[in-house]
């Protein structure tokens, strides 16, 4: 069932792409080569601007700490020491633990937001009821809510009930921005789904709940998966709340990296931090590049920054 839908989506996408290429090819020819070259240069500038700092982080991560300020654009004085230092608990760097913390918090937040949000998204996309527009507005507004407005009362509350530095003290506040993002993105995806199939199932004798579970849920799997990635990334990237409410034992990677120690005392540990940054970033970048199309669709549908 999902294969048919996927093929259909792909065909539509291809048709659209072909049509776009046809009209544009004619236009391109008429405008001549000058514009093509200008486009090429602009594209090169964009790629360079986006990737150069990222490339510099990786090059520095593999550079010997004695040559931190080497300005050669290619890798020089290559070493893996920075990665060892980044994981060195003796120097007070708990990167390994922090990675696990971030993973655990991210998985919990994503799971809670998806399980709760999927029902709301179904209702918003599929059902006709009063106050729907207002509800969408409220949920969108919630995702734009400033984190500082939550942090002071939560700081006091968690201090009073002894939750300070606990995992739940980091998971709960993250839901405040991950859940709205999840609901909004899922709602956008659900609106585009082939709901005729649900009706077909209903005619064949399924109840609405069955139609949802047996037809819609498998079809919605890609949308749910994309939303899960976006939710996980936004939880993984959170810094403000974690920096105030976490302890050494529960701090996520973003907080760990911001307070890093290097192998040389009294010296800013640039190379170590770049190594840690590389470790934190590479899995995300790979994930994003693999699911590039879906993530872009999800980002523009939800319109919410991760």
């Amino acid at each position: 069932m999902s294969a048919i839908a996927a093929t259909a989506t792909r065909t539509v996408a291809r048709d659209r792409a072909v049509a776009a290429v046809d009209t544009r090819a004619i236009a391109m020819k008429r405008r001549g080569r000058g514009r093509g070259i200008r486009t090429g240069i602009s594209a090169a500038v964009i790629v360079l601007w986006c990737l150069a700092p990222f490339y510099w982080m990786i090059v520095t991560a593999f550079r010997d700490v004695g040559y931190t300020y080497d300005t050669a654009f290619w890798p020089t004085h290559v070493t893996f020491d920075n990665f060892t230092t980044a994981f060195s608990t003796q120097l007070g760097n708990h990167l390994g633990k922090a990675l696990l913390n971030s993973l655990f918090i991210g998985v919990c937040v994503t799971a809670i937001a998806l399980i709760i949000g999927i029902f709301a998204a179904y209702a918003l996309a599929r059902l006709d009821f009063r106050f729907k527009g207002i509800l969408l507005g409220v949920i969108l507004g919630a995702s734009m809510f400033p984190g500082v407005a939550l942090i002071t009362p939560l700081f006091q509350l968690f201090t009073n009930i002894g939750w300070m530095g606990s995992y739940q003290a980091l998971i709960l506040p993250s839901i405040s921005f991950v859940l709205p993002l999840t609901v909004y993105t899922l709602t956008s995806f659900f609106r585009e789904m082939p709901w005729d199939l649900e009706e077909a199932a209903r005619i064949d004798g399924c109840t609405q709940a069955q139609a949802f579970r047996k037809i819609i849920l498998p079809l919605a799997a890609p949308a749910v998966f994309t939303t899960a990635i976006l939710a996980f990334i936004s939880s993984w990237n959170e810094y403000l709340i974690s920096s105030q409410l976490s302890s050494d034992a529960t701090q996520p990677v973003t907080v760990a990296i911001a307070s890093f120690a290097g192998s040389q005392p009294h010296q800013e540990p640039y190379t170590t931090v770049m190594a840690a940054g590389t470790i934190v970033t590479i899995p995300l970048v790979i994930l994003v590049l693999i699911f590039q199309r879906r993530i872009v669709a999800g980002l523009t549908a939800g319109g919410v920054k991760g």
Partner: protein, 343 residues
């Protein structure tokens, strides 16, 4: 669930016989919708509603402390608007309890500076990101070899956590770092007053322009190519096409993107907190409202609550202006884009 199912029994897309009644169907769907939406709303009430309400209550309380006469711990009690006056009018209490204007160095005296810095960052970064975002989106909307590479590359800055971005630019902007090496300058990017502000603006622009470009690209893609063909027939120049066709047609998408970015920029914390520590210049050149709230938390919850409530109200007013005065309809614009994309 079973009763609800019976009520919404008629398939949605099929024209219904009048006796079924759209009103009845709607009422039934409302009941189902309440059950489906309730968990989300309850959870949001717990994680957003509760903190906001308690912040507002706290902002009218005095700080609790030890009574100097009895040595006992006393609750602060009602403070009126003194916590707000502390920030907005820079009023502090001296040791004998009289209201004086806050001395320099007190966080209260930094409020207007922080507000100015926050708005300066928001306006400059969003302006730059919109301009570059439109440019990037126009390039990505063209057909050329390597377009896939551009679209992939643009996602990289977006995917990097802001904390890592801040550390990365902290290294780039180090005194002997690559930025000064390339520019052949000796700028103190993280401690000079204006250089540190621009360091944050540059890093933020790098990190967030891709997001703007993607939102704008979504708006560009629903403009049919034949509009441009017709304009060309009438002899419109490339600039005229951009100014008279592209810009008006992407205006709704652009406004939504700008609204999102403005609201996001007004709460900026990660980048200045890590890149400059809120410092620079005489010590607070890059202190934003969010940084000021966090600095205040450990010096008194109630004042911090007042400041975070002020921050929230400022952001709310900006959003209100966008939605009401400029007519940015977020929900409708995105629905239109989806319909366009689905064609």
């Amino acid at each position: 669930m079973s009763t609800a199912t019976e009520v919404v029994g008629a398939p949605a897309g099929v024209p219904r016989a009048p006796r079924t009644g759209a009103k009845k169907k709607r009422r039934g769907e409302t009941r189902v919708a309440i059950y489906l939406v309730a968990p989300t709303l309850i959870l949001l009430a717990v994680v957003i509603g509760y903190p906001v309400v308690s912040a507002i209550i706290m902002s009218f309380q005095k700080d609790a402390g030890l009574d100097p006469a009895t040595g006992l711990f006393v609750a602060g009690g009602f403070a009126g608007i003194s916590n707000y006056a502390h920030w907005i009018l820079q009023q502090c209490l001296d040791t004998s309890g009289n209201t004086i204007s806050c001395p320099p160095g007190n966080l209260g005296s930094q409020f207007w500076n922080a507000t100015g810095v926050t708005f300066f960052f928001a306006v400059v970064t969003v302006a730059l990101e919109t301009a570059f975002g439109v440019w990037m989106a126009i390039i990505m909307n063209r057909t050329f070899r390597g377009r896939g590479l551009v679209r992939a590359a643009i996602l990289v800055p977006w995917a990097i956590p802001t904390a890592v971005t801040a550390k990365l630019w902290f290294f780039i902007f180090a005194t002997s770092g690559i930025a000064n090496a390339l520019l052949q300058t000796q700028i103190l990017w993280t401690s000079d007053e204006w250089a540190s502000r621009f360091a944050i603006i540059i890093a933020d622009t790098w990190k967030t322009t891709p997001f703007m470009a993607l939102l704008i690209l979504a708006g560009l893609q629903i403009i049919p190519e034949d509009v441009y063909e017709a304009a060309k027939m009438d002899g419109a120049t490339t600039f005229q096409q951009f100014w008279r066709i592209t810009l008006p047609l992407i205006r709704p998408a652009l406004m939504v993107a700008v609204l999102f970015r403005i609201l996001d920029a007004l709460r900026i914390y990660d980048l200045p907190a890590i890149l400059t520590g809120g410092g620079g210049g005489t010590g607070n050149a890059t202190t934003t409202l969010s940084i000021l709230v966090v600095d205040q938390i450990r010096q008194g919850f109630n004042s911090a609550s007042a400041l975070s409530t002020i921050t929230f109200i400022i952001i709310f007013i900006v959003a209100f202006i966008f939605v009401r005065v400029l007519g940015t309809n977020v929900v409708r614009t995105q629905q239109a884009q989806q319909k366009g994309a689905a064609k």
